[in-house]
């Protein structure tokens, strides 16, 4: 069986990276977290704007994204840094992550006596935990335990013609190995949902797909504006995409041809095998952060306009079908499939090129986004700040 070298976690899950993650429960702890990350190398900080003055489903969403990011199997250890009076409960967050059996520490800035002491305490914890994590050994893992998210961003016409269908071929290769694929971006199936609905495993899954699209479209209607200009974005339009329907129809090929087994909510845990749909906005960073919180190991990201997007705890593989952009932005692109458009590369070979890259990145190869330190993180909001 085809295998890669990864980390076997205490709960049986596998990681392809061994991150030490520093989570601020609230924006007020961001600076302390950033300073600890500067002091101790090979740590990942996820500063964010949220964690207080939130209620209900909006508060739950922030909690779920923070907990899911901590639970992601690419994370070997977690330090939670709280202010001490915020809405997100640091103890509950620690408990939610602790079920995975990974190393976890939690403290708050108010009890410890301010920023300087908190930075010192956090840095000492981080140094010890990093040293322990570095002792862990990789083992052989079969590819049927790999979960990959598929995403497109900064799309142009080459996305629908070349990079998305090529990624779909690679997605089918992982499914054939027994692995899992997740597609999301509810906004970007508007106008193409009938095509995906036909591929849902059961009528219940199909009904839920229509339901989440309707829910999203009602939110757009509530804003009282044409979504064109927001999505498709000005850059999408400059690249030749005219309507959200056209963009959506070009988007959906990136998940391959497998049946859709189920629909998960934003940041919800994604079951291991087969193809799933996650309800999420099209916004690149919110979407990738939601998939990472759902437990994917890698995100494959197609782009025609070009974007540097990375993610905090998962490698992001950037794929393009736009030759001119590839030559301009080679710094940010991992896989070029633009020869598809001049007829010198078959769709099958383009898909194989992406599948090879997925295997190499699983085995430890650094993506361009990782090398450049692109560890973007963002939490989707569904309510107002109080």
């Amino acid at each position: 069986m085809n295998t890669f070298q990864g980390y076997r976690r205490p709960n049986g899950e596998v990681g392809i990276r061994n991150h030490l993650l520093l989570i601020p429960t609230v924006i007020c702890a961001n600076q302390v977290v950033n300073r600890i990350s500067q002091l101790v190398g090979d740590t990942v900080a996820i500063p964010h704007q949220h964690g207080c003055s939130q209620i209900g489903a909006d508060k739950d969403r922030t909690f779920d994204v923070l907990a899911g990011t901590g639970k992601n199997p690419n994370v070997g250890g977690v330090i939670i840094i709280s202010l001490g009076c915020e809405v997100i409960d640091p103890t509950a967050l620690a408990e939610a992550i602790r079920v995975t059996g990974k190393k976890i520490e939690v403290f708050d800035i108010q009890s410890i006596g301010g920023s300087v002491k908190a930075i010192q305490h956090g840095a000492e914890l981080a140094r010890k935990m990093r040293a322990e994590l570095d002792q862990e050994q990789k083992v052989a893992i079969p590819f049927n335990e790999l979960k990959v998210g598929v995403k497109c961003g900064g799309s142009d016409a080459t996305s629908g013609l070349a990079s998305n269908p090529a990624l779909g071929v690679a997605a089918d290769s992982l499914i054939a190995e027994g692995g899992g694929i997740v597609i999301s971006e509810t906004t970007e199936i508007i106008g193409a949902e009938h095509v995906l609905a036909e591929r849902c495993r059961t009528p219940e899954v199909s009904d839920k797909l229509y339901y989440i699209v309707d829910r999203f479209e009602k939110e757009v209607e509530r804003m009282g504006a044409d979504m064109r200009g927001g999505n498709p974005s000005p850059g999408n339009i400059a690249g030749g995409l005219t309507t959200i329907e056209e963009k959506s129809l070009g988007c959906i090929s990136k998940c391959g041809t497998a049946p859709i087994e189920g629909i998960v909510e934003y940041a919800e845990f994604i079951p291991a095998n087969g193809l799933y749909f996650m309800d999420s906005p099209g916004n690149d960073i919110e979407c990738v952060s939601g998939m990472a919180a759902g437990g994917v190991h890698i995100v494959c990201f197609t782009t025609g306009r070009g974007t540097p997007t990375g993610a905090a705890v998962v490698p992001v593989i950037k794929i393009t079908g736009n030759k001119k952009m590839y030559e301009r932005m080679t710094d940010n692109m991992d896989v070029d499939v633009s020869e598809l458009l001049d007829g010198t590369l078959s769709m099958e070979a383009a898909g194989e090129r992406i599948w090879q890259e997925i295997q190499e990145v699983s085995n430890g190869k650094q993506t361009k986004a990782e090398i450049l330190g692109h560890n973007e993180f963002s939490i989707n909001r569904i309510g107002p700040s109080l």
Partner: protein, 116 residues
């Protein structure tokens, strides 16, 4: 969907039902180009300059027509679009996600079309 993209064309038609081809080079006004449709090359006269990645009408598209690409509806023609001209935001509007039309007859019509 484009399983195999062949060389020798300047624009690609993704499905037999489509009204448009996508330019895979910049297309110059007054030139005659080759378009690829279902594995067959044919010629098309370019009436106005079309940038790389943008769409060209492969036939005249009447006002109000549901415009197709990938064999599916990508929007509605707001004016008559002559053959060989640029198909984009100036002559095609989206039917979906139209909060600006929420509650109007056109919005209700769009919802009705959703299950097609």
């Amino acid at each position: 969907m484009a399983e195999h993209i062949h060389s020798g064309a300047e624009a690609l038609v993704m499905d037999g039902k489509d009204h448009v081809a996508t330019a895979i080079q910049d297309l110059q006004a007054g030139s005659t180009i080759s378009i690829m449709k279902q594995g067959l090359l044919s010629e098309l006269f370019v009436v106005e300059t079309i940038p790389f990645g943008h769409k060209i009408a492969i036939e005249a598209i009447e006002e109000g027509t549901s415009v197709r690409k990938y064999g599916e509806v990508i929007g509605r023609a707001t004016v008559l679009i002559p053959q060989g001209t640029h198909v984009h935001v100036h002559n095609v509007e989206g039917i979906r996600g139209r909060g600006d039309r929420a509650g109007s007859d056109q919005s209700a019509e769009a919802k009705g079309a959703k299950q097609v």
